[in-house]
Protein backbone atom coordinates (compact mmCIF):
# COMPACT_ATOMS: atom_id res chain seq x y z
CA UNK A 1 0.00 0.00 0.00
CA UNK A 2 1.53 3.25 -1.08
CA UNK A 3 0.68 6.92 -1.59
CA UNK A 4 2.48 9.00 -4.22
CA UNK A 5 2.58 12.78 -4.57
CA UNK A 6 -0.67 13.25 -2.69
CA UNK A 7 -2.15 16.74 -2.47
CA UNK A 8 -5.27 17.59 -0.56
CA UNK A 9 -6.79 20.90 0.40
CA UNK A 10 -9.82 22.13 2.27
CA UNK A 11 -10.82 25.36 0.56
CA UNK A 12 -7.65 27.39 0.25
CA UNK A 13 -5.84 25.51 2.94
CA UNK A 14 -3.41 22.88 1.68
CA UNK A 15 -3.44 20.07 4.24
CA UNK A 16 -1.29 17.52 2.42
CA UNK A 17 1.68 18.76 0.43
CA UNK A 18 3.07 16.24 -2.02
CA UNK A 19 3.04 13.31 0.34
CA UNK A 20 4.93 10.12 -0.54
CA UNK A 21 4.47 7.22 1.82
CA UNK A 22 4.75 3.46 1.87
CA UNK A 23 2.86 1.24 4.25
CA UNK A 24 4.62 -2.13 4.43
CA UNK A 25 2.60 -5.31 4.78
CA UNK A 26 2.61 -7.21 8.08
CA UNK A 27 4.07 -4.14 9.73
CA UNK A 28 2.76 -1.40 11.96
CA UNK A 29 3.11 2.13 10.65
CA UNK A 30 2.49 4.84 13.23
CA UNK A 31 1.66 8.40 12.23
CA UNK A 32 2.47 11.05 14.80
CA UNK A 33 2.51 14.81 14.80
CA UNK A 34 0.73 17.86 16.21
CA UNK A 35 -3.04 18.25 15.90
CA UNK A 36 -4.11 19.48 12.50
CA UNK A 37 -0.91 18.32 10.86
CA UNK A 38 -2.75 16.17 8.31
CA UNK A 39 -2.07 12.72 9.75
CA UNK A 40 -5.77 11.86 10.11
CA UNK A 41 -6.36 13.05 6.56
CA UNK A 42 -3.65 10.66 5.34
CA UNK A 43 -5.31 7.81 7.21
CA UNK A 44 -8.80 8.66 5.94
CA UNK A 45 -7.45 8.88 2.40
CA UNK A 46 -6.27 5.29 2.70
CA UNK A 47 -9.89 4.22 3.28
CA UNK A 48 -11.09 6.70 0.65
CA UNK A 49 -13.25 8.53 3.19
CA UNK A 50 -11.29 11.52 1.91
CA UNK A 51 -10.34 11.91 -1.71
CA UNK A 52 -7.18 13.93 -2.39
CA UNK A 53 -7.21 16.16 -5.47
CA UNK A 54 -3.94 14.94 -6.88
CA UNK A 55 -1.65 11.97 -6.57
CA UNK A 56 -1.74 8.21 -6.87
CA UNK A 57 -2.79 5.47 -4.50
CA UNK A 58 -1.23 2.07 -5.13
CA UNK A 59 -2.79 -1.02 -3.60
CA UNK A 60 -1.45 -4.41 -4.73
CA UNK A 61 -1.90 -4.22 -8.52
CA UNK A 62 -4.51 -1.48 -8.36
CA UNK A 63 -3.45 2.08 -9.19
CA UNK A 64 -5.88 4.87 -8.39
CA UNK A 65 -5.13 8.21 -9.97
CA UNK A 66 -6.97 10.80 -7.91
CA UNK A 67 -7.03 13.33 -10.77
CA UNK A 68 -9.20 10.87 -12.71
CA UNK A 69 -11.61 10.08 -9.91
CA UNK A 70 -12.50 6.74 -8.38
CA UNK A 71 -14.92 4.22 -9.82
CA UNK A 72 -17.17 1.96 -7.77
CA UNK A 73 -15.01 -1.12 -8.31
CA UNK A 74 -11.88 0.57 -7.04
CA UNK A 75 -13.77 2.00 -4.09
CA UNK A 76 -15.16 -1.36 -3.02
CA UNK A 77 -11.76 -3.04 -3.52
CA UNK A 78 -9.99 -0.56 -1.25
CA UNK A 79 -12.76 -0.58 1.36
CA UNK A 80 -12.70 -4.37 1.31
CA UNK A 81 -8.94 -4.43 1.90
CA UNK A 82 -8.82 -1.79 4.62
CA UNK A 83 -10.75 -1.55 7.86
CA UNK A 84 -11.18 1.65 9.79
CA UNK A 85 -11.37 2.23 13.53
CA UNK A 86 -12.51 5.67 14.63
CA UNK A 87 -11.72 7.78 17.66
CA UNK A 88 -15.40 7.86 18.64
CA UNK A 89 -15.96 4.12 17.88
CA UNK A 90 -19.02 4.81 15.67
CA UNK A 91 -20.66 1.54 16.60
CA UNK A 92 -24.18 1.05 15.26
CA UNK A 93 -26.37 1.81 18.28
CA UNK A 94 -29.38 -0.13 17.05
CA UNK A 95 -27.44 -3.40 16.72
CA UNK A 96 -26.07 -5.62 19.48
CA UNK A 97 -22.34 -6.29 19.74
CA UNK A 98 -22.86 -9.40 17.61
CA UNK A 99 -25.02 -7.45 15.15
CA UNK A 100 -22.29 -4.84 14.77
CA UNK A 101 -19.67 -7.46 14.02
CA UNK A 102 -21.65 -9.59 11.54
CA UNK A 103 -23.18 -6.64 9.66
CA UNK A 104 -20.27 -6.34 7.22
CA UNK A 105 -19.69 -10.06 6.68
CA UNK A 106 -23.39 -10.79 6.02
CA UNK A 107 -24.26 -7.66 4.04
CA UNK A 108 -21.05 -6.98 2.14
CA UNK A 109 -19.28 -10.34 1.92
CA UNK A 110 -22.67 -12.12 1.69
CA UNK A 111 -21.52 -14.75 4.17
CA UNK A 112 -24.24 -16.93 5.63
CA UNK A 113 -25.27 -15.89 9.10
CA UNK A 114 -24.04 -19.00 10.89
CA UNK A 115 -20.49 -18.72 9.57
CA UNK A 116 -20.48 -15.00 10.36
CA UNK A 117 -21.59 -15.64 13.93
CA UNK A 118 -18.96 -18.35 14.36
CA UNK A 119 -16.25 -15.95 13.18
CA UNK A 120 -17.60 -13.17 15.37
CA UNK A 121 -17.43 -15.40 18.43
CA UNK A 122 -13.84 -16.32 17.63
CA UNK A 123 -12.86 -12.67 17.37
CA UNK A 124 -14.73 -11.72 20.54
CA UNK A 125 -12.90 -14.46 22.40
CA UNK A 126 -9.60 -13.09 21.15
CA UNK A 127 -10.35 -9.62 22.48
CA UNK A 128 -11.92 -10.95 25.67
CA UNK A 129 -15.48 -9.75 25.17
CA UNK A 130 -17.41 -13.00 24.73
CA UNK A 131 -19.68 -12.12 27.62
CA UNK A 132 -20.83 -8.90 25.92
CA UNK A 133 -22.05 -10.55 22.74
CA UNK A 134 -25.72 -9.68 23.26
CA UNK A 135 -25.18 -6.26 24.81
CA UNK A 136 -25.89 -3.00 23.03
CA UNK A 137 -23.20 -0.37 22.42
CA UNK A 138 -24.49 2.07 25.01
CA UNK A 139 -24.06 -0.56 27.71
CA UNK A 140 -20.33 -0.82 27.03
CA UNK A 141 -17.48 1.15 28.53
CA UNK A 142 -15.38 3.19 26.12
CA UNK A 143 -12.63 0.59 26.13
CA UNK A 144 -15.07 -2.22 25.43
CA UNK A 145 -16.78 -0.20 22.69
CA UNK A 146 -13.47 0.47 20.99
CA UNK A 147 -12.52 -3.20 21.19
CA UNK A 148 -15.86 -4.09 19.57
CA UNK A 149 -15.10 -1.54 16.85
CA UNK A 150 -11.77 -3.28 16.28
CA UNK A 151 -13.61 -6.62 16.17
CA UNK A 152 -16.07 -5.22 13.63
CA UNK A 153 -13.17 -4.22 11.45
CA UNK A 154 -11.35 -7.55 11.92
CA UNK A 155 -14.48 -9.50 10.95
CA UNK A 156 -14.09 -8.20 7.40
CA UNK A 157 -10.65 -9.78 7.32
CA UNK A 158 -8.98 -6.68 5.88
CA UNK A 159 -5.37 -6.58 4.82
CA UNK A 160 -4.79 -3.35 6.72
CA UNK A 161 -6.49 -1.95 9.77
CA UNK A 162 -6.44 1.83 9.98
CA UNK A 163 -6.85 3.34 13.42
CA UNK A 164 -7.59 7.02 13.86
CA UNK A 165 -6.58 8.02 17.41
CA UNK A 166 -8.23 4.88 18.77
CA UNK A 167 -7.61 5.71 22.42
CA UNK A 168 -7.88 9.49 22.50
CA UNK A 169 -11.39 9.40 23.97
CA UNK A 170 -10.51 6.93 26.72
CA UNK A 171 -9.43 7.10 30.36
CA UNK A 172 -5.86 5.85 30.87
CA UNK A 173 -7.17 2.69 32.52
CA UNK A 174 -9.46 1.86 29.60
CA UNK A 175 -6.82 2.94 27.13
CA UNK A 176 -4.60 0.16 28.33
CA UNK A 177 -7.07 -2.63 27.47
CA UNK A 178 -7.36 -1.32 23.92
CA UNK A 179 -3.59 -0.93 23.53
CA UNK A 180 -3.08 -4.51 24.71
CA UNK A 181 -5.42 -5.76 21.97
CA UNK A 182 -3.50 -3.72 19.39
CA UNK A 183 -0.14 -5.01 20.62
CA UNK A 184 -1.45 -8.56 20.33
CA UNK A 185 -2.65 -7.88 16.78
CA UNK A 186 0.75 -6.45 15.89
CA UNK A 187 2.40 -9.57 17.27
CA UNK A 188 0.10 -11.72 15.10
CA UNK A 189 1.44 -9.89 12.04
CA UNK A 190 -1.65 -7.80 11.30
CA UNK A 191 -0.79 -4.88 9.02
CA UNK A 192 -1.83 -1.65 10.70
CA UNK A 193 -1.61 2.08 10.29
CA UNK A 194 -2.15 3.95 13.55
CA UNK A 195 -2.55 7.63 14.27
CA UNK A 196 -1.84 8.21 17.94
CA UNK A 197 -0.73 10.77 20.50
CA UNK A 198 0.49 8.10 22.89
CA UNK A 199 4.26 8.17 22.37
CA UNK A 200 5.21 5.25 24.59
CA UNK A 201 2.67 3.08 22.77
CA UNK A 202 3.98 4.34 19.43
CA UNK A 203 7.51 3.47 20.42
CA UNK A 204 6.50 0.01 21.54
CA UNK A 205 4.27 -0.99 18.63
CA UNK A 206 5.77 0.75 15.61
CA UNK A 207 7.84 -0.90 12.93
CA UNK A 208 7.90 2.43 11.18
CA UNK A 209 7.32 5.97 12.38
CA UNK A 210 6.05 8.84 10.27
CA UNK A 211 6.14 12.34 11.69
CA UNK A 212 3.77 14.73 9.95
CA UNK A 213 3.75 18.46 10.43
CA UNK A 214 1.78 21.06 8.52
CA UNK A 215 1.06 18.67 5.65
CA UNK A 216 4.70 17.66 5.21
CA UNK A 217 6.48 14.49 6.19
CA UNK A 218 9.40 15.40 8.43
CA UNK A 219 10.43 11.88 9.38
CA UNK A 220 9.81 8.50 7.79
CA UNK A 221 11.77 5.57 9.13
CA UNK A 222 12.60 3.27 12.00
CA UNK A 223 11.32 4.14 15.47
CA UNK A 224 14.61 3.97 17.34
CA UNK A 225 16.41 6.88 15.66
CA UNK A 226 13.18 8.87 15.93
CA UNK A 227 12.83 8.59 19.68
CA UNK A 228 16.50 8.44 20.65
CA UNK A 229 19.12 11.07 19.92
CA UNK A 230 17.04 12.77 17.30
CA UNK A 231 18.87 15.78 15.86
CA UNK A 232 15.84 17.40 14.25
CA UNK A 233 14.85 20.36 16.37
CA UNK A 234 11.14 20.19 15.45
CA UNK A 235 10.90 16.55 16.41
CA UNK A 236 12.76 16.92 19.70
CA UNK A 237 10.54 19.87 20.55
CA UNK A 238 7.42 17.83 19.70
CA UNK A 239 8.61 14.83 21.70
CA UNK A 240 9.52 16.88 24.74
CA UNK A 241 6.08 18.48 24.66
CA UNK A 242 4.48 15.05 24.75
CA UNK A 243 6.16 13.73 27.90
CA UNK A 244 6.42 15.16 31.38
CA UNK A 245 9.97 15.49 32.52
Amino acid sequence: MELREINKSYGNHLVLKNINLEFPKKKVTVLVGPSGSGKSTILRSLNLLETPERGKYLFDDLIIDFTKGIDKKELSYVRRKTGMVFQSYNLFPHFSVLGNIIEGPTQVLKLDKETAIKNAKKILKKIGLESKIDNYPEELSGGQAQRVAIARSLAMNPEYILLDEPTSALDPELELEVLQVLLQLAKDGQSMVIVTHNMSFAQQVADKIVFVEDGNIIYDGKPDPFFKNNKNLRITKFLSSMVLK
Binding site: N47, G83, P93, H94, G104, Q107, E138, A149, M156
Partner: protein, 243 residues
Protein backbone atom coordinates in the same frame (compact mmCIF):
# COMPACT_ATOMS: atom_id res chain seq x y z
CA UNK B 1 -80.42 13.85 26.09
CA UNK B 2 -79.12 10.28 26.17
CA UNK B 3 -81.81 9.32 23.77
CA UNK B 4 -80.59 11.88 21.25
CA UNK B 5 -77.00 10.80 21.69
CA UNK B 6 -77.76 7.10 21.38
CA UNK B 7 -79.57 7.86 18.14
CA UNK B 8 -76.85 10.12 16.67
CA UNK B 9 -73.72 8.28 17.81
CA UNK B 10 -74.13 5.19 15.59
CA UNK B 11 -74.61 7.41 12.54
CA UNK B 12 -71.52 9.45 13.38
CA UNK B 13 -69.44 6.34 14.05
CA UNK B 14 -70.61 4.77 10.84
CA UNK B 15 -69.43 7.81 8.89
CA UNK B 16 -66.20 7.67 10.88
CA UNK B 17 -65.40 4.11 9.91
CA UNK B 18 -66.64 4.53 6.37
CA UNK B 19 -64.86 7.79 5.52
CA UNK B 20 -62.76 9.40 8.29
CA UNK B 21 -60.69 6.31 9.11
CA UNK B 22 -59.98 5.17 5.51
CA UNK B 23 -59.32 8.75 4.42
CA UNK B 24 -56.78 9.16 7.25
CA UNK B 25 -55.07 5.79 6.89
CA UNK B 26 -54.74 5.81 3.11
CA UNK B 27 -53.61 9.45 2.98
CA UNK B 28 -51.08 8.98 5.74
CA UNK B 29 -49.65 5.84 4.17
CA UNK B 30 -49.29 7.47 0.74
CA UNK B 31 -48.07 10.69 2.36
CA UNK B 32 -45.25 8.93 4.23
CA UNK B 33 -44.05 7.15 1.10
CA UNK B 34 -44.08 10.46 -0.75
CA UNK B 35 -42.33 12.13 2.19
CA UNK B 36 -39.53 9.56 2.32
CA UNK B 37 -39.04 9.85 -1.42
CA UNK B 38 -39.01 13.65 -1.24
CA UNK B 39 -36.59 13.71 1.70
CA UNK B 40 -34.14 11.36 -0.02
CA UNK B 41 -34.20 13.39 -3.21
CA UNK B 42 -33.69 16.64 -1.34
CA UNK B 43 -30.76 15.19 0.63
CA UNK B 44 -29.07 13.70 -2.42
CA UNK B 45 -25.84 15.31 -3.49
CA UNK B 46 -26.20 14.30 -7.13
CA UNK B 47 -25.59 17.03 -9.69
CA UNK B 48 -26.63 17.78 -13.26
CA UNK B 49 -30.23 17.20 -14.33
CA UNK B 50 -30.94 15.99 -10.83
CA UNK B 51 -30.76 19.58 -9.60
CA UNK B 52 -33.94 20.30 -11.58
CA UNK B 53 -35.66 17.34 -9.92
CA UNK B 54 -34.52 18.64 -6.52
CA UNK B 55 -35.84 22.09 -7.32
CA UNK B 56 -39.18 20.59 -8.32
CA UNK B 57 -39.54 18.76 -4.99
CA UNK B 58 -38.49 21.86 -3.11
CA UNK B 59 -41.22 23.74 -4.93
CA UNK B 60 -43.75 21.05 -4.04
CA UNK B 61 -42.92 21.24 -0.33
CA UNK B 62 -43.04 25.03 -0.40
CA UNK B 63 -46.38 25.08 -2.23
CA UNK B 64 -48.20 22.73 0.14
CA UNK B 65 -46.78 24.27 3.27
CA UNK B 66 -47.56 27.81 2.17
CA UNK B 67 -51.24 27.42 1.25
CA UNK B 68 -54.23 26.47 3.42
CA UNK B 69 -55.37 22.86 3.30
CA UNK B 70 -58.97 23.93 2.75
CA UNK B 71 -57.98 25.95 -0.29
CA UNK B 72 -55.96 23.01 -1.62
CA UNK B 73 -59.03 20.77 -1.30
CA UNK B 74 -61.17 23.33 -3.17
CA UNK B 75 -58.64 23.66 -5.98
CA UNK B 76 -58.36 19.88 -6.48
CA UNK B 77 -62.08 19.16 -6.25
CA UNK B 78 -63.83 22.28 -7.55
CA UNK B 79 -60.99 23.86 -9.55
CA UNK B 80 -59.43 21.05 -11.56
CA UNK B 81 -62.63 20.32 -13.57
CA UNK B 82 -61.93 23.67 -15.24
CA UNK B 83 -58.35 22.69 -16.14
CA UNK B 84 -58.81 21.62 -19.74
CA UNK B 85 -55.73 20.08 -21.32
CA UNK B 86 -55.90 19.37 -25.04
CA UNK B 87 -55.31 15.71 -25.81
CA UNK B 88 -55.04 14.59 -22.19
CA UNK B 89 -58.11 15.98 -20.47
CA UNK B 90 -60.21 18.01 -22.88
CA UNK B 91 -63.20 17.93 -20.52
CA UNK B 92 -61.24 19.08 -17.48
CA UNK B 93 -60.04 16.89 -14.58
CA UNK B 94 -63.10 15.66 -12.70
CA UNK B 95 -62.30 13.63 -9.63
CA UNK B 96 -64.50 11.67 -7.29
CA UNK B 97 -64.70 13.58 -3.98
CA UNK B 98 -63.06 10.75 -2.01
CA UNK B 99 -60.20 10.48 -4.52
CA UNK B 100 -59.74 14.25 -4.50
CA UNK B 101 -59.58 14.09 -0.70
CA UNK B 102 -56.98 11.29 -0.73
CA UNK B 103 -54.82 13.14 -3.25
CA UNK B 104 -54.90 16.44 -1.37
CA UNK B 105 -54.37 14.98 2.10
CA UNK B 106 -51.53 12.75 0.85
CA UNK B 107 -49.74 15.62 -0.86
CA UNK B 108 -50.20 17.85 2.18
CA UNK B 109 -48.99 15.22 4.66
CA UNK B 110 -46.12 14.34 2.34
CA UNK B 111 -44.89 17.91 2.28
CA UNK B 112 -44.82 18.29 6.07
CA UNK B 113 -43.57 14.79 6.82
CA UNK B 114 -40.75 15.10 4.26
CA UNK B 115 -39.27 17.88 6.38
CA UNK B 116 -39.53 15.70 9.48
CA UNK B 117 -37.83 12.78 7.77
CA UNK B 118 -35.19 15.03 6.21
CA UNK B 119 -34.31 16.39 9.64
CA UNK B 120 -34.28 12.91 11.18
CA UNK B 121 -31.90 11.56 8.55
CA UNK B 122 -29.62 14.59 8.97
CA UNK B 123 -29.61 14.05 12.73
CA UNK B 124 -27.84 10.69 12.43
CA UNK B 125 -24.13 11.42 13.06
CA UNK B 126 -21.80 11.48 10.06
CA UNK B 127 -19.68 8.85 11.79
CA UNK B 128 -22.44 6.29 11.21
CA UNK B 129 -22.18 6.79 7.44
CA UNK B 130 -18.39 6.58 7.64
CA UNK B 131 -18.41 3.45 9.78
CA UNK B 132 -20.77 1.75 7.32
CA UNK B 133 -18.73 2.88 4.31
CA UNK B 134 -15.52 1.68 5.95
CA UNK B 135 -16.84 -1.89 6.22
CA UNK B 136 -17.63 -1.72 2.51
CA UNK B 137 -21.36 -1.02 2.58
CA UNK B 138 -22.80 0.86 -0.39
CA UNK B 139 -24.81 4.05 -0.08
CA UNK B 140 -28.11 2.20 -0.40
CA UNK B 141 -27.15 -0.49 2.09
CA UNK B 142 -26.02 2.16 4.57
CA UNK B 143 -29.24 4.08 4.18
CA UNK B 144 -31.45 1.04 4.53
CA UNK B 145 -29.65 -0.81 7.33
CA UNK B 146 -27.88 1.88 9.32
CA UNK B 147 -29.32 5.36 8.78
CA UNK B 148 -33.08 4.90 8.29
CA UNK B 149 -33.59 2.64 11.31
CA UNK B 150 -31.97 5.29 13.50
CA UNK B 151 -33.79 8.14 11.77
CA UNK B 152 -37.11 6.33 12.18
CA UNK B 153 -36.70 6.30 15.93
CA UNK B 154 -36.21 10.06 16.03
CA UNK B 155 -39.06 10.76 13.66
CA UNK B 156 -41.80 8.76 15.39
CA UNK B 157 -42.99 11.55 17.74
CA UNK B 158 -43.20 14.29 15.08
CA UNK B 159 -44.75 11.90 12.54
CA UNK B 160 -47.33 10.84 15.11
CA UNK B 161 -48.12 14.54 15.45
CA UNK B 162 -48.77 14.76 11.72
CA UNK B 163 -50.93 11.65 11.91
CA UNK B 164 -53.07 13.04 14.71
CA UNK B 165 -53.40 16.36 12.89
CA UNK B 166 -54.50 14.52 9.80
CA UNK B 167 -57.33 12.74 11.66
CA UNK B 168 -58.77 16.11 12.59
CA UNK B 169 -58.00 17.74 9.24
CA UNK B 170 -60.17 15.17 7.46
CA UNK B 171 -63.15 17.09 8.88
CA UNK B 172 -62.37 19.62 6.14
CA UNK B 173 -63.43 16.95 3.65
CA UNK B 174 -67.03 17.80 4.60
CA UNK B 175 -66.63 20.90 2.46
CA UNK B 176 -66.00 18.86 -0.68
CA UNK B 177 -69.17 16.77 -0.24
CA UNK B 178 -67.59 13.78 1.55
CA UNK B 179 -70.06 12.51 4.12
CA UNK B 180 -67.54 11.97 6.91
CA UNK B 181 -68.20 12.34 10.66
CA UNK B 182 -68.39 16.11 10.82
CA UNK B 183 -70.71 16.33 7.82
CA UNK B 184 -73.00 13.74 9.40
CA UNK B 185 -73.08 15.63 12.69
CA UNK B 186 -74.02 18.80 10.79
CA UNK B 187 -76.85 16.99 9.04
CA UNK B 188 -78.20 15.56 12.31
CA UNK B 189 -77.94 18.96 14.02
CA UNK B 190 -79.97 20.48 11.20
CA UNK B 191 -82.69 17.89 11.87
CA UNK B 192 -82.87 17.84 15.66
CA UNK B 193 -81.84 21.46 16.38
CA UNK B 194 -79.15 20.33 18.85
CA UNK B 195 -75.95 21.90 17.41
CA UNK B 196 -74.16 22.14 20.78
CA UNK B 197 -74.81 18.51 21.60
CA UNK B 198 -74.05 17.18 18.13
CA UNK B 199 -70.82 19.11 17.63
CA UNK B 200 -69.67 18.21 21.15
CA UNK B 201 -70.44 14.61 20.40
CA UNK B 202 -68.43 14.57 17.18
CA UNK B 203 -65.61 16.39 18.98
CA UNK B 204 -65.59 13.62 21.57
CA UNK B 205 -65.38 10.97 18.86
CA UNK B 206 -62.38 12.76 17.28
CA UNK B 207 -60.79 12.93 20.72
CA UNK B 208 -61.28 9.19 21.24
CA UNK B 209 -59.73 8.42 17.86
CA UNK B 210 -56.72 10.65 18.62
CA UNK B 211 -56.30 9.20 22.10
CA UNK B 212 -56.12 5.71 20.65
CA UNK B 213 -53.44 6.92 18.22
CA UNK B 214 -51.39 8.58 20.99
CA UNK B 215 -51.51 5.34 22.92
CA UNK B 216 -50.32 3.50 19.81
CA UNK B 217 -47.52 6.04 19.47
CA UNK B 218 -46.37 5.29 23.01
CA UNK B 219 -46.34 1.57 22.28
CA UNK B 220 -44.38 2.11 19.06
CA UNK B 221 -41.84 4.32 20.81
CA UNK B 222 -41.35 1.68 23.48
CA UNK B 223 -40.82 -0.94 20.84
CA UNK B 224 -38.35 1.09 18.79
CA UNK B 225 -36.69 2.56 21.83
CA UNK B 226 -35.89 -0.75 23.47
CA UNK B 227 -32.98 -1.70 21.30
CA UNK B 228 -31.27 1.64 21.19
CA UNK B 229 -31.90 2.44 24.83
CA UNK B 230 -31.70 -0.79 26.74
CA UNK B 231 -30.92 0.79 30.04
CA UNK B 232 -34.45 2.25 30.02
CA UNK B 233 -33.23 5.48 31.46
CA UNK B 234 -35.52 8.34 30.74
CA UNK B 235 -33.93 11.71 30.35
CA UNK B 236 -35.98 14.53 31.79
CA UNK B 237 -35.48 18.13 30.86
CA UNK B 238 -33.60 19.16 33.98
CA UNK B 239 -30.92 16.70 32.88
CA UNK B 240 -31.44 14.26 35.71
CA UNK B 241 -31.74 10.65 34.66
CA UNK B 242 -34.25 8.41 36.36
CA UNK B 243 -34.86 4.71 35.99
Amino acid sequence: MWEIISKALPQILEAGFKYTVPLTLISFFLGIILALFTALIRLSSRKGFFLVVKLFFRFYVWLFRSTPLLVQLFIVYFGLPYLKIKGMAPEGIKLDAFIAGIITFSLNTGAYASETIRAAISSVPKGQWEAAFSIGMTRNQTLKRIILPQALRVSVPPLANSFISLVKDTSLAASITIVEMFEVSQQIAAENYQPLLMYSLVAAVYAVFCTILSWGQGKLEDKLGVKANRSKKEVVIDGVERN
